[in-house]
């Protein structure tokens, strides 16, 4: 049984918390019956953090005057994988950025690193003028 949930938000940092909360409650809702409490907590936290990072990146990299740019967060659940994809209309980017060099006390740039480590699979693709970052993890 597969279910799809899509969430379209304005690209504004105000909505980061809403996006990550939605991700966490969907992850917990869909995973509920097959997991122990701690497993479903870890599963939900992974999506909460992954969506926060991806959404914040979309917002911070949005061009200056794009006040009305929208970000779409889509959840696709096909037992046992949950895939969340974030799409925005920013410039293309790559996810192969090297992990920040810790000695230089980097103050940002951990986002993609965290996503790659927390999620089983992370795919970036360009569809027309849309970036689509798909991240999936299985129960």
């Amino acid at each position: 049984m597969s279910s799809i949930i899509t969430l379209t938000l304005p690209g504004d940092i105000l909505f980061a918390r809403l996006a990550s909360q939605t991700a966490s409650s969907i992850a917990r809702l869909l995973a509920d019956d097959q997991q122990t409490e701690t497993e479903s907590c870890v599963f939900a936290h992974a999506f909460e953090l992954a969506v926060t990072e991806a959404f914040t990146n979309s917002v911070t990299h949005a061009p200056e005057n794009a006040t009305s740019a929208m970000v779409t967060v889509t959840f696709l659940f096909e037992q046992p994988h949950l895939t969340v994809s974030i799409s925005d209309a920013n410039e293309p980017f790559t996810i192969e950025t090297p992990a920040p060099d810790i000695e230089s006390f980097p103050e940002n740039g951990f986002g993609l690193l965290i996503i790659r480590k927390l999620m089983d699979r992370v795919i970036y693709r360009r569809d027309g003028e849309w970036n689509i970052l798909s991240m999936s993890k299985s129960l």
Binding site: A16, T56, E107
Partner: protein, 116 residues
């Protein structure tokens, strides 16, 4: 997110409570003890249940503000979730991390005696 600040001797102990993300990170960055390059600071993360890229950035900027390594910023009381994030990003290499505030204070007090 609310930060309760206490001090022991001239060591400042910051205890943020809640989520350390884009909204709350500035509160850490603009905190007086974090900015003061000579102030010894302990950040007690026990009540932090969520940290993201901007939260990590705020903590690293605390370290960056210190004049030299021994203006040490030390972390304590991290829960399991945070520990994974620190390990993923290798940030744990930059900090002295204790599982409780008390041992952290002792460690700092010994460092203080060495320095003076």
């Amino acid at each position: 997110m609310i930060i309760t600040e206490t001090s022991k001797g001239d060591i400042a102990i910051l205890a943020p409570d809640g989520k350390l993300d884009h909204d709350s990170a500035p509160e850490i960055r603009q905190n007086r003890s974090i900015i003061d390059p000579d102030k010894m600071v302990v950040i007690d993360l026990e009540k932090v249940d969520f940290i993201d890229d901007s939260g990590l950035g705020a903590i690293i900027c605390a370290l960056r503000n210190k004049r030299n390594a021994n203006g040490v910023t030390v972390l304590s009381g991290m829960n399991h979730r945070l520990r994974i994030i620190f390990e993923i990003t290798n940030i744990h290499k930059l900090f002295n991390i204790f599982d409780d505030v008390a041992p952290t204070i002792e460690y700092l007090e010994t460092r203080q005696i060495e320095r003076t």
